[in-house]
Every structure is written in structure tokens, then in C-alpha cells.
């Protein structure tokens, strides 16, 4: 899946850049505004960035912004903006530097999540204060979990809630539940429906008779997340945890790793694991015990942050162990 991989790399790179920029940002702006240097450090970047800013001759708005930033400095839910090149109709002004956005096409960038319009050059200076707006979130699949949950103001993404509710209402006795694949075109159809209609999507038995289409849609949603449920940051800790032989230590290590997950991720995981536990309770009928479910859900919930194929292959075993542990100890872990 080259597209996803490249996306991950891109994301990581971007967040790193953003973080660095953000730190330098406020001091730079102040320095620019006051026309002086600040702090002991003097890398070339701090020197020419003020110059660049001066070029826009927007001193007043910069000062305003700098002081504003100073006052509400606590970053509550830090989220990187999702800037995309945008062609604006009619005159537009940059919401960062307040100067005009010149040109007829691709005058600047727009955050796909909150709709902030800025110059391309300014986009790197904007702090990570994106507050996703429902109007700007067009997709449900492949949308960052935290973004989606913030935008809809729900505890968990609606795909997870709705699919699990539907699956449980149909009973968990279908043989090979979560193992047998639904017809992939229908699964894609469900995905498109969620993207378009959101909560109004009809996934009832009248629309999709085969339960494996619903399980497939749920698994696809989890796989399509730009950051998996077991986030990249926490991933190595989970793998390390799986390597413990002592069951007590293992459980403790998993518990510690769970604490690293963003709240939206851990809430979703908790809900999902409770559901999978219920699936295993019907093992007599569906033949899916925790181990079987873990094989299927391993790569669905966990993805290695680095793209090395050999490590990824080796990790499959540990991914399975982690998910199995999560399902079996769902009641004590969360």
C-alpha cells in the first residue's frame, strides 16, 4: 500500500516540522515585531525568517498575533492543520499575516479540517491549533480519529459505534465472524455511504444482508485510519510488552502502553475489545476465539511505524499476542 505509506511518512515529517517551527515561531514573531533578536541562540534561521516576515510589511497584524498568542499560550488539544493548496474565488486575505493573497489560481492553502486560509509561506508559521469544523470534514474514512471525534463531538467514531451495534443486533453466531470477507465492492459501497451520509448511513439487514460486509466495513475503517488505533508512538511499547514472558509483567507493560494512547484512541479500543470479548463468548457458534480474532485484528489495529518489511513481518506474531491479550483481559485493562 504505497499510498498509505507515503502518507505516514509525510505526516510524520510534517508534524516534526510543525513542532520545530512552532517553538521558533513565537520568538521569531516577537523578534520581528520588535526588530531585535531574542535569546542566546542564534541559528541562521532566526535571522532570515524575520526578514521574510518583514517583506510582507504586516507589522501591526504580527504584533497583534504575537501578543494574542502570548496570552492564550496553553495548547489544549494540539492538532496540526491539514493544509491543502487551494484556489480562492474573489479576493482573499491571509488569516495569518492579514495581507492579500495574490494570483488567480492556487493563491494559498486551506486547512481541510477547520477551513483556515493562509499563504503557503505562512502555513508553516501557524500554530497547531486546528479546531476541526464539521462543515469542512467531508470524509469519515481515512480521517484522523481525534479530528473526527472532535468534529462530531462524540466519544467514538460513528462507524465503530454503528457497525458494532448492527453486528450485535444480528447476533454474534455467524460462523467465521470477522474472518470471512464480505464482497469487497459492497464493503466499498458502505465506505462511500459513510463518507457521504455519515450517521444516516443505512447498514441494516435490508441494505446489506451479509453480515461480513458490515464486519468488513468496520475493519476497513480501522485500517484506513491515518494513525492506527494503536498509535505509532505507542506501538513499540506494545511490541516490547508482548516480549515479556511473565504474564504479570506482560499485563503491566500493556497497561503502561495503553496509557500512551490518545483518549479518543483508547476509548475506541476499549469499546471494540469489549465487543470482541462478547464475540468470543459465542465461540461455539462462530468458531472465533480470542486467538483467531487477534490474528485478524493484529494488522487492523497495529501498524509498524517504520516501513522495513522484515521487521513488519516479524512483528505480526507480537501484534497477535498484544491483541489477544487485550481481548482476554479487556475487563481488567481498561
Amino acid at each position: 500500500m504505497p499510498s498509505r505509506d507515503s502518507y505516514e511518512v509525510h505526516q510524520e515529517e510534517k508534524s516534526l516540522v510543525q513542532k520545530a517551527k512552532r517553538e521558533a515561531n513565537q520568538e521569531d514573531i516577537l523578534a520581528a515585531a520588535l526588530g531585535m533578536r531574542m535569546g542566546p541562540q542564534k541559528p541562521p534561521a532566526t535571522f532570515w525568517q524575520p526578514l521574510k516576515l518583514f517583506a510582507y510589511s504586516q507589522l501591526t497584524s504580527l504584533v497583534r498575533r504575537a501578543t494574542l498568542k502570548e496570552s492564550d499560550r496553553m495548547p489544549k488539544s494540539e492538532k496540526v492543520h491539514n493544509f491543502k493548496v487551494h484556489t480562492f474565488r474573489g479576493p482573499h486575505w491571509c488569516e495569518h499575516c492579514a495581507s492579500f493573497m495574490w494570483g488567480l489560481m492556487a493563491q494559498g492553502v486551506k486547512c481541510a479540517d477547520c477551513g483556515l486560509n493562509v499563504h503557503k509561506q505562512c502555513s508553516s508559521l501557524v500554530p497547531n491549533d486546528c479546531k476541526p469544523d464539521l462543515r469542512h470534514i467531508r470524509k469519515v474514512y481515512s480521517c484522523d480519529l481525534t479530528t473526527l471525534v472532535n468534529a462530531y463531538n462524540t466519544a467514538r467514531p460513528m462507524v465503530v459505534d454503528m457497525c458494532i451495534r448492527e453486528i450485535e443486533s444480528r447476533g454474534l453466531k455467524s460462523e467465521g465472524l470477522y474472518r470471512i470477507s464480505g464482497f469487497s465492492d459492497s464493503v466499498e459501497e458502505v465506505k462511500t455511504a459513510f463518507d457521504k451520509e455519515g450517521e444516516k448511513t443505512d447498514i441494516s439487514v435490508n441494505a446489506y444482508e451479509d453480515i461480513n460486509i458490515i464486519t468488513g466495513a468496520l475493519k476497513l475503517y480501522l485500517r484506513d485510519l491515518p494513525v492506527p488505533i494503536i498509535s505509532y508512538d505507542a506501538y513499540p511499547r506494545f511490541i516490547e510488552a508482548a516480549k515479556f514472558t511473565d504474564p504479570e509483567k506482560k499485563l503491566e507493560a500493556v497497561r503502561e502502553a495503553l496509557a500512551l494512547l490518545p483518549p479518543s484512541h483508547s476509548d475506541t479500543l476499549k469499546y471494540l475489545m469489549a465487543h470482541l470479548k462478547r464475540v468470543t463468548q459465542d465461540e461455539k457458534f462462530n468458531l472465533m476465539n480470542a486467538e483467531n480474532l487477534a490474528i485478524v485484528f493484529g494488522p487492523t489495529l497495529m501498524r509498524a511505524p517504520d516501513l522495513d518489511a522484515i521487521t513488519a513481518l516479524n512483528d505480526i506474531r507480537y501484534q497477535r499476542q498484544v491483541v489477544e491479550l487485550l481481548i482476554k483481559n479487556e475487563d481488567v485493562l481498561f
Partner: protein
């Protein structure tokens, strides 16, 4: 072909839970596995004699789930023959196998390739949802061989694998004699596996 050992890489593909492992293990070890654990990837080797000639088969048993799709292109590239398996009692798996067929041809960048379509779980006749005629029509349209099998009753298990070996042999023979271009054109239309049905 020279005197050296003949060796083929066979790949068993198909949706989740259709019985790929059951077929493969029945073929290799002659018993029916009753446990229900999904495969990630297993490989087996078997030496068998087809048409009086000894052949070493490397068989790759793959994962049916989309989750393991990343590994798919890789094994499709290396496979020399494919067993596309679906379950006769599962319509989803029948649709899925048609996708696999397209994907194999795309990865191989060819119009035809040694493939045998296998409708498994023939023992569950009462639960059948895919008729023999439908599957046979799809196979004929695409110039591939179709067989119905039951890993449980060991029905048509060896036959499926051995049929695939024969098809690979014919295919590779045809591949190795391409210089007579004006000839091959004619041979291809008449000599491709579909005529053997």
C-alpha cells in the same frame, strides 16, 4: 525441459475461511484439519509425479483477509500457478475470487496465466449458493479450468493441484517456444488452456 529437477511455485489464494489451508493440508498430509485458525502464510513442499514426470511443488498457503493484502502482490509476482479457491456456500467468496483473478493477471501483466478455479466445500451440497453452471461459465469466459472439491471428503483435492501442474507445464512450454511468431498467434488461440476443458 532439461534433465534437471522440475520445480513449480504454486500459490493458493481466495477469501477468508473458504478452505485454502484445508485443501493444501489435505493434499500434502492427507488429513482434514478441523481447527479454525486463520492463516497468515504457510509454505509446504511436496514431490509428486505428474504424467510420469517427477515435480517438486512449493506451495504457498496464503491469508484470505484483506488485512494481509500488503503481502499479496509479492506472492503473486513469484507464483507460477494459482489455485483460486472459493466456497460453494459463500457468495462473497465467489465475488472475491473474481477480484483475485483480475489481480493475478494485472500483476503478471498478461491475458492468461496458469490458474485453476476451485469451488470448495462440495460436501455442503444443501448449502450451495453458487451453481456449477455459473462458476463454469465464468471459468470458460476467462479461459481457466474449473473444478469442484471437498477438502473434507478428499474429493478432487489432488486432482486440482495436479491439473494446475499440467497447465503450468503446457503454459511454460508454449512460453519457451515463442520465436515462431507467425505460428504462435495461431497456437495461442487454439493452444491456450481453455480448449482443454
Amino acid at each position: 525441459m532439461s534433465a534437471e529437477e522440475e520445480r513449480f511455485k504454486l500459490v493458493v489464494v481466495g477469501g477468508g475461511g473458504v478452505g485454502k489451508s484445508a485443501l493444501t493440508i489435505q493434499f500434502i498430509q492427507s488429513y482434514f484439519v478441523s481447527d479454525y485458525d486463520p492463516t497468515i502464510e504457510d509454505s509446504y513442499t511436496k514431490i509428486c509425479t505428474v504424467d510420469g514426470k517427477e515435480t517438486r511443488l512449493d506451495i504457498l498457503d496464503t491469508a484470505g483477509q484483506e488485512e494481509f493484502g500488503a503481502m499479496r502482490e509479492q506472492y503473486m509476482r513469484s507464483g507460477e500457478g494459482f489455485l483460486l479457491v472459493f466456497a460453494l456456500n459463500d457468495r462473497g467468496s465467489y465475488h472475491e475470487v473474481q477480484k483475485f483473478h483480475t489481480q493475478v493477471l494485472r500483476v503478471k501483466d498478461r491475458d492468461d496465466f496458469p490458474i485453476v478455479l476451485v469451488g470448495n466445500k462440495a460436501d455442503l451440497e444443501q448449502q450451495r449458493v453458487i451453481s456449477r453452471e455459473d462458476a463454469q461459465a465464468f471459468a470458460s469466459d476467462n479461459g481457466i479450468h474449473y473444478m469442484e472439491s471437498s477438502a473434507k471428503n478428499r474429493y478432487n483435492v489432488d486432482e486440482s493441484f495436479l491439473e494446475l501442474v499440467k497447465i503450468i507445464r503446457r503454459f511454460q512450454e508454449m512460453e519457451s517456444t515463442p520465436p515462431a511468431a507467425h505460428h504462435t498467434g495461431k497456437q495461442k488461440s487454439g493452444g491456450c488452456p481453455c480448449v482443454l476443458l
